[in-house]
């Protein structure tokens, strides 16, 4: 490349305030190969991009360096601009003089000197770029959706309705996730069963959705458009094809006292059970830990009762493989374990609230089950300890959330809303009951959200105290809740019959292991990392893998559904092309100098480097060599560093480019 254009961006004031952009432009004219240098207030804007396009045509430029923000922000933008002017998009390099320079250095002289160095390195690199063409790869038009909560269901339906096959994998025996367990939902108070069950049925009956329940993703290989997902179908001990869901088995099962996970321990279930009446598939599963037949080889009543002969005690886990083109992760959330000991060291518990010690201190989801018509108490609010109707219920917000000391710094976003909902539900069921709410701030920013909270306070007379609860003790059947009302400036002590803790939302258990299997990032709280918070909220850094719902961050149902459709939309964009364009910045091997030690074959995490033979026209073996499978290579470059004879190289980050960058610093 010998006709290079350097374009320095002001980024409004973000760069220009601490970097002398004019001086950077002038200095870059001295670099070898630079034919033109310009600066403009907003390079990424339309006028900025047209400035680049015009200069490419006017000066026959064959290489572009844009000194602006991080390549993660606008490399695609400027590559598009170059392509629009007929220049190969891979002849564009970015010098990051904003995040890595103007924003972090105040001394203008030093920041400008550094910016000039960064541009010099980018020019040295772009002079050795090759014009690359995208690699064409076939696309498997089947999507894998992990987690069948409201988000997973929505995404599955969108994609299936668009005509493509979906593999939906759910860990629990039934789809529905956390929403299935809720009573009513804010702000419209419509019953979650009524709005979710039809969707669950659609999912269960959709011709193009292949539903796996009691199943987990074992491993995922391959790459975007050509994944191979291995799904572990855990032993259910019930053949759901034969079973008609008549219920004979779970009515006769002697093991009655198993704490139901679906009811979060508020009610019990049998060893063979369906989690809740509207379960889809409405087929039971046997709990290996509880079933006497499976544990001790006795009983077996359910098999005798089953007319369809669907019970199979010898059922084993199976590993099934599914060809997949794109993956959506919708594994949802779980509530923060309020009791003293915690799964990880940083998260310390709320022993002082007595959760797990006092039976009448429950968390929000447990209260949902109490209030729910299909709940263990049939919707009657009663104290778990003695079953009496509670006259005074205390709701405590921000239990865990916004509390660095407890290791959770973020706000769980939806607790203010469902706490207000709980006070209304409680009022409608116990007319003479009094709800007390201890809160820090009320966060009700959604549509009709604040009106909803006002109604809870004004119409249903919930008493809101702005303050923290310090301690809960139990004295003769009553829970003494000691807190403070900072607005009134007085301590508050309430003798409550029931305490409901609005505890923090945390990612579902095992979501970090799944992230490792899929090679996507997650933050220090375990929530999955999106590719870009504003520009690519549902994509991840791994091509072809998307995320939606609470697994990404705490969020309510409307947002989860919106994100689910967004993720499905992205998948449909990919499936709309006959074949997929793959990033050509991948490895290549100089087969004439490769000495076939196959260090690269051992190293490649994607098995993209293969052993191959070089044959002459007559077909006899000339030599052995390593060869790169262009469909599999993801461009990590580990083979390039491990190759002793430097026969392996990586387009886009080739040795020539990297060494030119380093040598330009002399």
């Amino acid at each position: 490349m010998s006709r290079i254009g350097v374009f320095v961006c002001w980024c409004g004031e973000n760069i220009a305030r601490t970097v002398d952009v004019v001086q950077v432009a002038e200095a870059s004219l001295q670099f070898p190969g630079v034919k033109h240098a310009a600066h403009y207030k907003y390079m990424c804007s339309e006028p900025g991009q047209s400035l680049i396009r015009d200069k490419i045509l006017a000066d026959r430029l064959d290489g572009i360096v844009v000194a602006s923000c991080s390549p993660h922000m606008h490399l695609k933008t400027f590559r598009g601009a170059a392509q629009a002017a007929g220049l190969n998009p891979y002849l564009v390099e970015i010098a990051n003089i904003r995040e890595h320079c103007s924003w972090v250095h105040q001394d203008k002289a030093k920041a400008t000197a550094k910016a000039i160095d960064l541009v010099r390195m980018a020019v040295a690199k772009v002079r050795r770029n090759n014009a690359l063409q995208a690699i064409k790869v076939p696309v498997t038009k089947r999507a894998l959706i992990i987690g069948a909560g409201v988000a997973g269901i929505q995404a599955a339906l969108d994609i299936a309705d668009a005509g493509y096959e979906v593999v939906l994998v759910e860990r629990e025996p039934s789809v529905g996730g956390k929403m299935a367990g809720l009573s009513e939902t804010f702000p419209t108070m419509d019953c979650s069963q009524c709005i979710l069950t039809p969707r669950m049925v659609d999912v269960g009956q959709h011709p193009r959705i292949k539903l796996y329940t009691c199943a987990e993703v074992e491993s995922v290989d391959g790459y975007v458009g050509n994944f191979k997902a291995t799904i572990r179908q855990k032993a259910r001990f019930v053949d759901i094809k034969k079973c008609t869901g008549c219920g004979e088995c779970w009515n006769a099962c002697p093991q009655k006292k198993i704490a139901s996970e679906f009811d979060y321990g508020m009610g019990n279930r049998r060893a063979i059970y369906i989690p809740f009446p509207q379960a889809v598939p409405a087929r039971p599963a046997i709990d290996k830990q509880a079933c006497l037949k499976l544990k001790k080889g006795v009983c077996g009543i359910c098999a005798k009762k089953c007319a369809a002969g669907a019970i199979n005690y010898a059922d084993q886990d199976q590993l099934l493989e599914e060809p997949i083109g794109a993956i959506i992760v919708a594994t949802g959330y779980q509530l923060y374990q309020i009791s003293a000991q915690q799964p990880t060291a940083e998260l310390s518990g709320y022993g002082e609230y007595g959760y797990g010690q006092y039976k009448d201190v429950i968390d929000a989801l447990q209260f949902e089950r109490l209030v729910s018509a299909s709940g263990p108490t049939g919707g009657v609010i009663q104290r778990p300890s003695d079953g009496k109707e509670p006259k005074h219920v205390v709701f405590i917000s921000c239990v865990g959330s916004r509390d660095n000391a407890k290791g959770i710094s973020y706000c769980s976003k939806i607790c203010c809303m469902y706490t207000a909902k709980h006070t209304m539900l409680y009022k409608h069921k116990v007319h003479d009951g009094q709800a007390h709410v201890f809160y820090m701030d009320i966060r009700s920013g959604g549509k009709n959200y604040d009106e909803f909270v006002r109604r809870a306070i004004e119409q249903d007379h919930a008493r809101y105290y702005r303050g923290r609860v310090s301690k809960i003790t139990e004295e003769n059947g009553k829970l003494i809740v000691r807190g403070a009302d900072t607005l009134a400036g007085t301590p508050v002590t309430i003798e409550a019959d029931l305490v409901v803790l609005a505890s923090a939302m945390r990612p579902a258990t095992g979501s970090d292991d799944l992230a490792r299997k899929l090679r996507i990032g997650y933050d220090q709280n375990g929530f999955l990392s999106e590719s870009h918070p504003k520009l690519r909220p549902v994509e991840t850094n791994s091509a072809g893998i998307l995320i939606c719902g609470a697994c990404h961050a705490p969020k309510d149902i409307p947002e989860s559904v919106a994100q689910a459709s967004a993720a499905a939309g992205k998948v449909l964009v990919m499936f709309s092309h006959k074949e997929m364009q793959r990033d050509p910045e991948i490895a290549k091997i100089n087969e004439s100098t490769c000495s076939a030690c196959f260090a690269c074959v051992r190293t490649c995490p994607y098995q993209a480097a293969e052993k191959a033979d070089v044959r002459d026209r007559a077909g006899n073996l000339v030599k052995r060599t390593a060869r790169i499978n262009q469909g599999l290579c993801m461009g990590c470059g580990t083979c390039v560093a491990v190759c002793p004879s430097k026969s392996a190289d990586l387009e886009g980050f080739s040795d020539q480019q990297i060494y030119a960058m380093v040598e330009s610093l002399l």
């Binding site: 001295q30 670099f31 070898p32 330009s664 002399l666």
Partner: protein
């Protein structure tokens, strides 16, 4: 009448040269089993008769392994060249072997053939060479086979012939030699003498003819089988002078340097098209013998070899010119004038 000088006198001479800021080089012990010609830092370091022949040769002082030819400075789209004007410092080489000193006149031919190599000649003129006649030899020495002798004087400004108990007879050969030893020797009538050189191992004239007649003989392939293709023989040899020219620098400027190279490396003759006229090690080893014993004599009437034996001593595979040349001679005797009907050399 002869002139003599004592070891102390020689050391005093070194001290004097070093004092005047000039360079003195000679064989010094570098470690337990390696003696090399190197710049002396003190008079005591000189090792007059510590070994048969040091590991390298005094070629290093006329054509260093890495030498700056000139500098270039890039100024935008223009370039400025800065010549290597620094005149090389005067250097005295003391205690060199006659077979090393004899190599310099041989090299003078090629470096002054038509184009005069300034860098070589400037260094050559700055040299004063005082050789030490050989009192020891080993199986690798074959100077007698190429017309030299333990007390050969070619290329030396003065020759020291040992008289025993640190006394040396000084035989000045050139005005430079006389100037060096003027006033430092004591006249005496003792004549130094050295034992006769090694028996002639091969007849150079006959080998010169045999090389072309046996060009395709299998002897080359057999001899080259044990060769591993390194450059130890060429770099230790007093007469091997092939070199490479490379650029060392960065975008702003740098130097164009001359580095030693050797015909034993495959890249030496690799064409840009990928074709390599001398692909196999046998053809490369034959080329080295052919250049020394046929091409150079044909062009400059002198063998490009002084029989110092370094190629034999330094070869990690135990080869060297001696075994190759004797093998050629036997092959030649066994099948006289067998015109090359053998299979082509690889």
């Amino acid at each position: 009448m002869s002139q003599t000088i004592s070891l102390a006198g020689i050391r005093q001479l070194i001290g004097q040269w070093l004092g005047q800021g000039k360079r003195v080089a000679g064989p010094i012990r570098v470690n337990a089993d390696t003696i090399l010609y190197q710049n002396l830092t003190s008079a005591e370091a000189l090792l007059l008769d510590g070994c048969v022949h040091p590991g390298n040769s005094i070629k290093e002082f006329v054509m260093p392994p890495h030498e700056k030819l000139y500098e270039y400075v890039v100024k935008g789209r223009d370039v400025e060249l800065r010549n290597q004007e620094a005149f090389p410092p005067e250097r005295l080489i003391l205690g060199g072997r006659p077979c090393d000193a004899a190599a310099l006149p041989i090299l003078d031919h090629i470096f002054n053939w038509d184009f005069v190599d300034a860098a070589y000649n400037q260094r050559r003129q700055a040299l004063t060479i005082v050789s030490l006649a050989c009192t020891r030899q080993d199986d690798a020495c074959f100077c007698t086979s190429v017309g030299l002798a333990p007390d050969a004087v070619q290329g030396s400004d003065a020759l020291l012939v040992p008289l025993g108990n640190d006394e040396y007879e000084v035989r000045c050969q050139t005005p430079k030699g006389e100037a060096l030893f003027a006033g430092k020797c004591t006249p005496s009538d003792r004549q130094g003498s050295v034992p006769a050189g090694p028996a002639k191992q091969f007849d150079a004239k006959q080998v010169e003819a045999l090389i072309t007649s046996q060009f395709e003989a299998p002897v080359w392939r057999e001899q080259a089988l044990a060769c591993l293709g390194c450059g130890a023989c060429a770099y230790g040899c007093p007469t091997c002078h092939c070199f490479d020219i490379v650029d060392e620098g960065h975008a702003g400027g740098g130097i164009r340097a001359r580095n030693w190279d050797a015909c034993q490396f495959p890249l030496f003759t690799l064409h840009a098209s990928g074709h390599n006229p001398r692909q196999g090690q046998a053809s490369r080893q034959r080329q080295r013998v052919y250049h020394k014993f046929h091409i150079y004599p044909e062009k400059f009437k002198e063998y490009l070899c002084t029989g110092c034996g370094n190629c034999v001593r330094r070869c990690p595979a135990g080869l060297g010119l001696l075994s190759v040349l004797t093998a050629i001679q036997q092959a030649g005797a066994a099948a006289p004038a067998a015109k090359g009907e053998e299979a082509k050399q690889p």
